[in-house]
Amino acid sequence: MRAYNEEWLRNLEIQEKAETWHDQGLVTDEQLKSINQAYPQGFYRPNLFLRIGLFIFGAIACGFMTSILSLMIMGVSYSNMGSENHAIAVISLLNGIILLLALEFTIRNIKTLYAGIDNMLLYSVIFSYFFFILYVSLKDSTNFEPLTYCFLMLPILVIATIRYAEIVVGIATYLCVLAIVVLIMMKFPIGKMILPFVVMIFAGLSYWILQILKKKDGLFYYKNLFSLLEICCTMLFYLGGNYLVVREGNAMLNDLHAEVSPEIDFAPLFYFFTFAIPVLYVALGLRRHDRKLLIIGVLAFGFSIFTYRQYHSIMPLPWALTLGGFLMILVSILAIRYLKIPRAGVTYQALVSDKNRNLESIVLGQMVGQVPSEQQDNFQFGGGESAGGGAEGNY
């Protein structure tokens, strides 16, 4: 049922734990070595950049393999196929089978563990299947409705998730289920009205189910997937209650093409959600030491401010940026000073060494190009300076 070696996955977890104990000076070098020997794993887990490389070049190779395949099939039996769509469907199916074999071969023989190449092959298999059902349905030039496509995709997505526990496919499965729920609700007038609440209940319910599943040791295989899905649930829960999303979504679903989308029912309630949910996330994140909740809470808070500004002009944008920036600097300085010594288990100390200082510096270098130069038409920087680039659209 499960494609990756589960014992190795467990051993990997132990090895990683041991590594952090080693960093904290809790176990010695020799002990670390003997732990790694006692709990061996032989996964091929390359560095991030290698994974990117494997993904890119693997994808190009797959693409050309598909075109070789279609050249062959189109050449041999184009006339027997009846229609072109039919031929494409057959090619997609064959392509999917070959890629599936390649995927299984890679995992079994190269022992990849989400090494870019196996991720890529898995996505390609699923895309092949998608094109298969797409072109089968195109046969009589009658498209299925979206709900049917979702139902047709769901089984393969669920099977793939159970077998490979891959995060992108897992998220796609989750979104597919969500799409089915939403599309069914849309069939009823009442469904449209209560859609935001349905989405929030769906998100909350799935979060609750995840909490139960997470505790089951037998489902250790899906640990990373569960944690990624948790992020999806929390984001979905917030977006379901966000005033801007609800108001614009309402206008879109009811085909109201007004300059300004009309006010919605229960507006105060959604304003409450818009601001209460991020605060709740940040508080819970700090209390439960849950980094995902904390980060999503902060991001959501930023989006909430954007939401509010969208409908109420409190101050012009430059002032908002200045004030917001100032407050952010103030908050972080105070927090850093306060958390120099750990408080309630929360600290500013870096517990893991940073390996990304170099890339951080490149990102910082972009800032100099972000200084806006709106009213400097008669003022020329050197030709290449595209000042204001990072902040464009805001002014």
Binding site: L321, G382, G384
Partner: protein
């Protein structure tokens, strides 16, 4: 999988002592929650927002009283930031210097950003540099690169190099590389020369151990600039062979460097740039020999070479002789 079962196992098989088990358990049950990176990111974000907000405000209501207050605030903030950075400064060393003050780096960054705003404003309002527009970007370039060495700040170095590039008329940051107008041959050659110059400086810093942790910034910015410019030259201009040689030697340098430093980023960049240039070169030559390269051949070529690169990446440790 529970921590205590793992520890039970480890203690049971005598890998760790039972005292260690208790200590690890104590640490694991009350883990510290570090929000180091979150707070740093928030601070960076705040600095960006503040400086871009002020940078727009300074041009608004130019003739009002409030305006001069804003200019004064920016100037004071800028000098205060530089002052703070100077106050917390560590002694200069050719090695990497870690500043124990958590804010010194950020203050320097804020100071630099506000300096650009202030300088631009002074030029706009008082025409300080007259028509010598070059000075407007050259000054921050020199200042920032100097500060980068003085305060040991990689971010400011990369800002300085960005300013240096825009002094000669180039955009150097990765997402703006393609916005350069490389159909202009002079600009293109300038880009290649500047890029190679930066790579050389990076190499020298490493060779003579003078701030060798700056090498990455030089290599990354310079290497990408040269590579993109030479690719543009290879595709569009005469004298393809020269551009081809430039990019191939750069790609080989990248892979060699990656091999020495075990840097996968430079390995990946070297392979990508090298592969594009090689494939382009091959097809150009084949096209000139016979105009009938079949679709099937090119399809097979890309399939086989990309699959080959995948195998190369998988076997990289054996091929480049890296230990695990």
């Amino acid at each position: 999988m529970k921590i205590d079962t793992i520890l039970e196992h480890l203690a049971g098989s005598k890998v760790i002592s039972s005292r260690q088990k208790e200590r690890i358990l104590a640490v694991e049950q009350n883990p510290l929650f570090s929000i180091h990176w979150e707070l740093r990111t928030l601070l960076y974000l705040g600095i960006t927002l503040l400086s871009s907000g002020l940078g727009t405000l300074i041009y608004q209501n130019i003739d009002s009283i409030g305006h001069s207050v804003i200019v004064a605030v920016i100037a004071i903030l800028c000098f205060a930031a530089f002052g703070y950075a100077l106050w917390k400064r560590m002694a200069f060393s050719t090695e990497e210097v870690i500043n124990p003050s958590p804010f010194a780096d950020f203050a320097l960054l804020l100071g630099c950003l506000l300096f650009v705003t202030l300088e631009g404003y002074v030029q706009y309002q008082y025409n300080l540099f007259g028509t010598r527009y070059g000075l407007v970007t050259f000054l921050p370039a020199i200042l920032f690169i100097g500060f980068a060495y003085l305060f040991d700040h990689r971010g400011v170095l990369s800002m300085g190099l960005t300013a240096l590039a825009s002094w000669v008329g180039l955009a150097i940051s990765p997402e703006k590389l393609f916005s350069n107008d490389f159909t202009n041959q002079n600009l293109l050659i300038l880009a290649i020369i500047l890029g190679l110059f930066l790579v050389l400086i990076g190499w020298l810093s490493e060779r003579y151990s003078f701030k060798k942790h700056f090498a990455f910034t030089y290599f990354f910015l310079g290497g990408n600039l040269t590579a993109i410019a030479s690719l543009a030259g290879l595709f569009n201009n005469e004298g393809k062979i020269i551009y081809f040689l430039v990019i191939m030697s750069l790609a080989i340098f990248g892979v060699m460097y990656a091999r020495q430093k075990q840097s996968f980023l430079f390995l990946l960049l070297g392979v990508i740039y090298g592969y594009i240039a090689f494939s382009y070169g091959l097809f150009t030559v084949l096209n000139s020999i016979s105009s009938e390269i079949t679709f099937l051949f090119s399809t097979l070529y890309f399939f086989a070479t990309c699959a080959g690169i995948v195998v190369f990446f998988i076997k990289i440790k054996d091929i480049l002789g890296w230990k695990k």
